[in-house]
Structure formats: C-alpha cells, structure tokens
C-alpha cells in the first residue's frame, strides 16, 4: 500500500542530537539515594537549616510512597534507581558572561543549535548544563525593572524570604512520589520574580540538558509573577543518546498573582531512553491568566500534566499540549484544571500523533468545586494514528460539584485519510509533502502559539520525518 510507504519515513525516532561530549564533573555525589546523599547535596550547596530539614522530610515521604501503578510502565525505572547519580555539579562558580563558559560546553550548545536564538536575540539566559546553571546573564533593562532571573540556588541565597514564602507552596512534597523525590534532591533550575506591574516582551529562556550517563536531573523552578505583571518563560531540553535508562524528574511551581499574566513554554525532546516525570503547576489568582504550552517529542516515557489551580475569582487557565510518540515511546501527557473560585474559566487543547509502536495517552482532569459558580471549562483532544501498531488513549476525569458550572470534553481519533492525501497529490504534491502538510495542519493550532523559532523547529522536524520516505 502506498500509504505505508509514505508513513515508513515518518520517523522521529532517529535521534537527531545523538552525540556525547566528554564528561568532567567537578563534584559527584555517590550513586543511589540515601539520607547521606541528601545531606551531602544540602551541605555542598551551603543551604540554611530549614532547607535541609525540608529535603529530609521529603525523602521520608518519597520512601513511604508506593510507585504509581497508573500511567506508563515504570518497572524499568525502579530497577535502575540505585544506579542513578542524584547530584552532579560541573563547575564551581556561576558564569556571568558567555566568554567565561568553557569551550566544551559551548560546543554542546552549538550542536544543539541554540546559540543563534540565544546569543543574539535573548540576553537573559539560564542555561542548565548537567545539574546546575552554568551560564547566566541578565539583560540590563530587566535588572532595572527589578526582575530576578537566577538559578534556584542563588534565589535561595539572595532572596531568602521571598523564596521561603513561596517555595513548595504550589507543589508540596506530599503531592506525589516524584515531587517528593525532587524535593529531597533538587538541584538546578530557575528562580524568577516579576515585580508588580512589570511587563516583559522578550521571553525568559533556560536551556538545559542532561549529560553524564545515568545521571538524574531534578531541576526545580519557582516563578512568582506579582500583581498585574506579564511575562513568558521558555524552557527546552534535549539530551544525548545513551544505552542505559536515564531519569528526569522536575518540579515547576508558578504563582500568578491578581491580574497578572504568565505563559510557560516547554519543548521536551529527551533522548529515547529517558524517563521524564515532571510536576508542573500554577496557582492562578483573581483575574490572572496562566498559559501552559507543552510539547513532548522525546523520552522513553513522559508523564507530565501541567496544571492550573484557579483559586481567584475570574482566573483563567489554558493548556496547549502536543505529543509525538514514535517507536517504543509512550507520551502520557495532558493537563489538569481545578476550578476553586467563581467565574473561573479554562481550556485544554491536546493534539497527539502516534507512529510505529508509539503510544500517546491523554490524561486530564477537570474539577469544579462546589461554590465555583459559573465556572466554564472546555477540553478538546485529537489523536492521529499513523501505523497499525500505533496506539492512543484518552483518559479524561471530569468531576463536577457545582451546578452552575458548564463543562465540555470532546475527543476524536483518526488516521490520515486517503482522501486527504489524494486531494493534495492530485494538485501535484508528492506523497511525502502531502503527508507532511496533513500532519502540519493537524498540529497547527498548537504550533501557531509557539514562539517563532520553536514553531519553525517543530515544522522542520516534521518535514525531516517526511524526507527520505520515498522508496
């Protein structure tokens, strides 16, 4: 069948950043997880006593909690837990300018194709290499506006009160097993503070990547957006290919105060041996808006459900999610919206593509508490299946306790229609081009919300998959 010939080329599995640079960490904690390791991390970071206590308590919770039995298959991860380095620090001090960054690390960024976008357009960059921020600079005008964009460690050191007031208030360690793990061993990530009324157009960006083999990465990001402020944050990650399993478990906490507006963009393209288990959550106050844009292309298994807790009257949450599952990949993604105040509104749009033996699952929650009068939520999920062996699931949870709420959920599953391809081919397109166009059209509603360079990259990826499918 010609259909299959075309589809055979749609292969994102060939990992495009498959390279390794020499690994020279400055400090490496021992393998595996224990109270000793946690104490070591905390001591190494010269943390205040409360943080050490917090970490130890989180470790206790982590040890107590059973492995989740839902979602993806975590058995491979359980076996390798003892082989993981829970902390790794590549350099002693924080770099302030690009010139100070070692050539080896620059090479890595070079290969990732980051520098163009990063060096010239964006000045405020927290680039995470291995477990810690190695490169960090902030545009002068931002500093003048009072914006803080630091590594999470510096956030704790330099702004202890602000930090302590918000840290772990959005995602407490009790939340889930992996949030507990992250709370115990977190290292690296960003601390962002946007003062009252400040509006920034240029997005804040952080790139990070996992390098050392079998190294866990437990980045933690805390973002506080004060009243009436507006900003967006972009995070993208790629990791080189390794044969053994790798593990990433981040926690992102965002507080969006009244009338503020914040957008968080992630494009995840981990190598296909990565377990990516992330908790991302925002507390959204009165008349504030939070937008998550979540792209999941890589990893072996991703379990990630960006959430908006709408706690202030008139708050709005929006989640755009796109997932691609190639051979052997499982993208268990989606979003959660919790309406806990009157007149709150939310929207989730999810698009997924499953190819080969890939499996994409939408898992989402829409909860409206009693008293969240006139809450409105709408969820749309569309799944595209490319091959006979591909799989897709949809697991929405809709829990409504408020009678004046209005909630809708719709999902559809389809394959690329022979008619669609025929229509395009009859206008002179090759089958590859036609396929690429249909797939691009399918993800367009999400792609158009992405920052330009990401949208371009996403489209280029899809085109790459179509190339070479002739034959």
């Amino acid at each position: 069948m010609p259909k299959n010939e075309t589809i055979a080329g749609l292969d994102l599995d060939e990992y495009k950043y498959g390279f390794v640079t020499q690994d020279k960490p400055v400090f490496k904690a021992q393998k595996g997880l224990s109270e000793e390791v946690v104490r070591q991390i905390s001591a190494h970071k010269e943390e205040p006593e409360w943080m050490l206590k917090f970490r130890l308590k989180a470790l206790e919770i982590y040890n107590r909690r059973p492995m989740p039995q839902w979602g993806g298959d975590l058995s491979g991860l359980e076996q390798t837990m003892d082989e993981i380095y829970f902390y790794l620090r590549p350099q002693e001090k924080m770099e302030r300018s690009w010139d100070d960054v070692p050539q080896e690390i620059k090479d890595t960024f070079e290969k990732l194709g980051i520098p163009e976008a990063e060096r010239k357009v964006l000045a405020g960059v927290g680039a995470q290499y291995e477990s810690e921020m190695v490169y960090h600079s902030l545009k002068k005008e931002w500093e003048e506006k009072g914006i803080i964009f630091d590594s999470i460690e510096d956030g704790l050191k330099n702004h202890p009160e602000l930090f302590r007031e918000h840290f772990a208030t959005v995602v407490p360690p009790q939340d889930n097993k992996f949030a507990a793990l992250n709370s115990a061993v977190w290292s690296g990530g960003s601390f962002v503070y946007i003062p009252k009324g400040v509006k920034v157009d240029t997005p804040l960006q952080a790139y990070f990547r996992v390098n050392a083999e079998r190294m866990g990465q437990f980045e933690r990001t805390l973002i506080i957006v004060e009243e009436g402020a507006q900003a967006q944050y972009i995070e993208g990650c790629t990791a080189p290919v390794y044969s053994t399993e790798s593990f990433h478990s981040g926690v992102i906490e965002i507080v969006v105060k009244p009338n503020a507006r914040f957008r968080y963009v992630t494009i995840q393209n981990w190598s296909n041996n990565m377990y990516n288990l992330v908790t991302q959550r925002a507390l959204v106050h009165e008349d504030a808006t939070m937008e998550w844009i979540d792209g999941n292309l890589g990893s072996k298994l991703t379990m990630k459900y960006p959430s908006c807790y709408l706690v202030g009257r008139g708050a709005h949450g929006s989640i755009l999610s796109i997932a691609y599952a190639g051979d052997g990949q499982h993208q268990d993604t989606g979003g959660k919206v919790v309406h806990a105040a009157p007149h709150t509104t939310s929207q989730i749009i999810s698009k997924s593509i499953s190819k080969g033996t890939g499996r994409s699952s939408y898992r989402g929650l829409c909860k409206v508490y009693d008293g969240a009068e006139r809450a409105k939520s709408n969820v749309e999920c569309d799944a595209l299946l490319i091959d006979e062996t591909s799989r897709t699931d949809t697991f929405p949870y809709i829990e409504i306790e408020e009678d004046s709420a209005s909630v809708g959920h719709e999902a559809s599953v389809s394959k690329v229609g022979a008619e669609q391809l025929f229509y395009l081919m009859s206008r002179g397109m090759s089958e590859d081009e036609a396929m690429a166009m249909v797939v691009r059209g399918f993800i367009e509603p999400v792609a158009k919300e992405l920052p330009l360079e990401y949208a371009v990259e996403l489209n280029r990826l899809i085109e790459l998959e179509m190339e070479g499918s002739v034959g």
């Binding site: 039995q69 799944a383 949809t394 408020e402 209005s406 959920h409 394959k415």
Partner: protein, 439 residues
C-alpha cells in the same frame, strides 16, 4: 498495592458456603459445581475499594452489605402482591415472567412461539431441561471473574430467567420481565440468560419495581445476552425500585457477525445503582447502540461503568448516556471504548451528558478511549451543565410557569435518548415513568 483480606463472613454471615451448598445440592449437579467455583472466586477476590479505578467514585460501604439476609426461594408458598402483577398488566407482550423476591412465580409464553421452539422459563429449570444449552452459555459472559459481585451472584442466584430464540424466529412483541421486592432487609440474586440464534429477533424489557423501604434491600443481578450472526436483540433494563433498594447489575452483551445488539439502561429508583455493562463486538459488521438514561434526586447515587470492546473489524458502537440530577443526587459515568489490534474500520462513539439542576448535585464523567488499530473513527464527548436560560425564557415568555418550563426542557433533554429506541410502546411507558418522577 495492599490487597485487603475480606472473608465472606466478615461482610455478611448470610453469604456463606452453607447457603451456596443449599443451592448447589437442590439443582443440577454441574450447576452445583459452578456455584461452588464461583464461591471460591468470590472468597479469593478482594472487596473493591475506591483505590480501584472502576470503583473510584462509589464506596462499597454504601451497599451496606452487612445488613441483608438471603431471600430464600419459597416455591409454591410465595404470596404474589397485586402491585407486582400490575407491573405487567395492560402491556403488550409475547411472553412474561414475574419474579417476587427470590422466586420466579409465573412464566407465560405465546403458544405460537413455543411451537417455533422458543424457550422462556426459569433458569434453574432450564439448567435441567436444556442442560446442554445452558451449560454452554451460563457464566460465559458474566462469569465469576467479571467482578466480586458477579462471583457472589454466580454462587447464590435463585431468580433466573432463560430465553432461547431459535434461528430465524422473530418475536414481535417484547418479552417482559417484572422483578418485585416485597420487603426491606433482604438480598436477592437475579439472573438472565438470553440466546438469540442466527437471524433471530427479540425485544426484551426487564423491569424492577418495589415499594419504598425503611431498611435497605439488595438486588444483585447478572445479565448475559448473546446475539449470534445477524440476530437482533434490544435489551431494556428499567430500574424503578422504591427508595431503600441498592441495585447492582452486571451485564455483558456479545454481538456476532452483523448482529444488532442494542441496550437501554434506565435508572430512576433505588438509593444506589451500580451498573456494569460490557458490550463485546466480536463479529465483523456487528452494531451496538447503547443508551442510558438516569434521573436522580434526594441523595440517589447512580454509577455507570461501560465498556465497548471492539474485537472485530467493521463494527460500530454508539453510546449515549444522559442524566439529570436534582438535590443531593450524584451520578458517575465511566466508559471505555477499546479498539483491539486488527479491528480496522471501527466506528465507535461515546457521549455522556449531565444536567445539574440543584446546587448540591454532583456529576463525575470519565469517558476513556484505548485505541490499538489505526484505521478507525472514534470520538467521545462529555458535558456537565445546567438548563439553558434562553430555552426557559422562551417557554416562560409564552406563559408557561418556570417549574413547568424546566420540566419540559428536561424532558426534551431525555428525548434524544428515547427517540433512538426502536420500541415505540416502551418509549411511551418510559416517558410516563419519567414524567411521574419529574412530578
């Protein structure tokens, strides 16, 4: 996950190996064995908890399992209340069955159908007179492995109905079954086995009624429907128990090649109703229309757990469950469309719509898809909302009082389900039953 040890005795001393033995020794030998096996499975199976996905929103404690004694069959001595007979009166039927508590007290069947080989009789009798047939099918769809309560039913059932329709025989009027409870405090285990041979056609209405009780009674039933190639079966379960009754129903339908197997599940009565309906589409070209309708008030709790399992290609299933909830009523809908590998050209749809009409009503909806074939059309939708103010305004502007306007709109909401049911007489009865409930 820790498995909770729950022995039967700790749940209710009346559900016991002795009770199973009483039943096992009074019927066919092979059936006795089946009961003992079911009992073993029941004892081995942990009591479901809300940690299980399928029981997430319904606590087993709500069933108050400890409060019942078993309704033992009384045989000839059973008294049949007039209201029980009234359930069947004046309704066109090709055959009728009347159940009172643990007994099947009366069965009628058109002579002409009997002559064509149609069998309608108590299941326990059929286990002896039609042993081969019953043995082949009983427990095949809803066996002890279905869930803990199906195992309990498999061990303890007494009030069973058996319907067999031979190849090509069409039954014009519905087969009507009335199931009646006379008192609170009892547990009744009913069962249904329907077999439609190739090209046979059946309409079947299972109706559950009782007065209101001060103390709870339990009805725990199992329904197995087999529609062979090109057979047509419409199965309707109309649950109108009085208050106090807890209703558990495990149903499985099996649709063969080109078969039509439609179901309608209506929940209006009782305190708690939990319905598990698995529709299997095993033959190419099979079709299942699955309808559901529920109307809850004053603390009623309805939990629907459905599955659409597509094993064969070119099959079609379409589910529509609609419910309206007043006062502290609560509804749960959990449905899965599962398209197995190779079930290409599947069309499967699933829709759940809820109207919340009081501030304390609650609806939870989990419409799930699991798709392992690529050339399929599947979609699902779920909504929770309230009456459209504009629709109400339109009616009120024409002089209709608000209360009445609300009723009309709710009725219209259910209309979408009723108009898909190809049984006009039953639709009429249902409309009346709903009207009676809306008040």
């Amino acid at each position: 996950m820790a498995v909770m040890e729950t022995t039967a005795e700790s749940v209710n001393a009346a559900f016991s190996a002795e009770a199973v033995e009483r039943r096992a020794t009074s019927g066919a030998g092979w059936l006795g064995e089946l009961r003992r096996e079911a009992w073993d499975v029941y004892e081995r199976t942990p009591m479901p908890t809300t940690a299980l996905e399928e029981w997430r929103y319904t606590e087993v404690a709500q069933l108050e399992l400890e409060r019942y004694r078993l309704a033992e069959p009384k045989g000839e001595s059973v008294a049949v209340p007039e209201e029980a007979r009234a359930v069947l009166e004046g309704k066109a039927a090709s055959g009728t069955v009347l159940q009172v508590d643990g007994d099947i007290v009366e069965v009628t069947l058109d002579e002409s159908l009997r002559a064509k080989g149609v069998v309608l009789m108590p299941l326990a009798d059929a286990a002896e007179s039609h042993a081969e047939l019953v043995r082949e099918y009983l427990g095949r769809e809803v066996g002890a492995d279905f869930n803990k309560f199906a195992a309990l039913n498999g061990a303890l059932w007494t009030a069973g109905v058996f319907l067999y329709v031979p190849r090509g025989v069409r039954i014009e009027q519905p087969i009507r079954v009335a199931r009646w409870l006379t008192e609170g405090g009892i547990a009744v285990f009913g069962r249904t086995l329907i077999i439609a041979e190739d090209g046979a056609s059946i309409d079947y209405v299972d109706e559950f009624q009782s007065p209101d009780f001060d103390q709870p009674s339990l009805s725990c039933g199992a329904v197995e429907v087999v529609a062979k190639n090109a057979a047509q079966v419409h199965y309707v379960a109309l649950q109108r128990w009085g208050r106090g009754v807890k209703h558990l129903s495990m149903q499985k339908t099996h649709a063969g090649r080109d078969a039509d197997l439609d179901s309608l599940v209506v929940n209006l009565g009782g305190d708690l109703a939990r319905v598990d309906l698995h529709a299997w589409l095993d033959g190419p070209g099979a079709r299942s229309d699955m309808l559901g309708l529920y109307f809850g008030e004053r603390g009623q709790h309805f939990d629907h757990n459905t599955r659409q399992d597509h094993k064969a290609d070119h099959a079609n299933s379409d589910l529509l469950y609609k419910g309206a909830l007043y006062e502290e009523a609560r509804a749960v809908f959990r449905g899965i469309i599962r398209v197995h590998q190779g079930a290409q050209q599947t069309d499967a749809y699933q829709t759940n719509r809820n109207l919340l009409l009081s501030p304390n009503a609650r609806a939870d909806s989990l419409p799930n898809l699991e798709i392992e074939a690529d050339d399929v059309k599947c979609s699902h939708g779920a909504t929770v909302g309230q009456l459209d103010e504009e629709e109400l305004f339109y009616l009120m502007a024409r002089g209709i009082p608000r209360k009445q306007a609300e009723r009309l709109v709710v009725f219209g909401f259910f209309g979408e389900v009723l108009q898909r049911l190809p049984m006009p007489a039953v639709v009429q009865e249902l409309s009346e039953a709903i009207a009676a409930k809306i008040g």
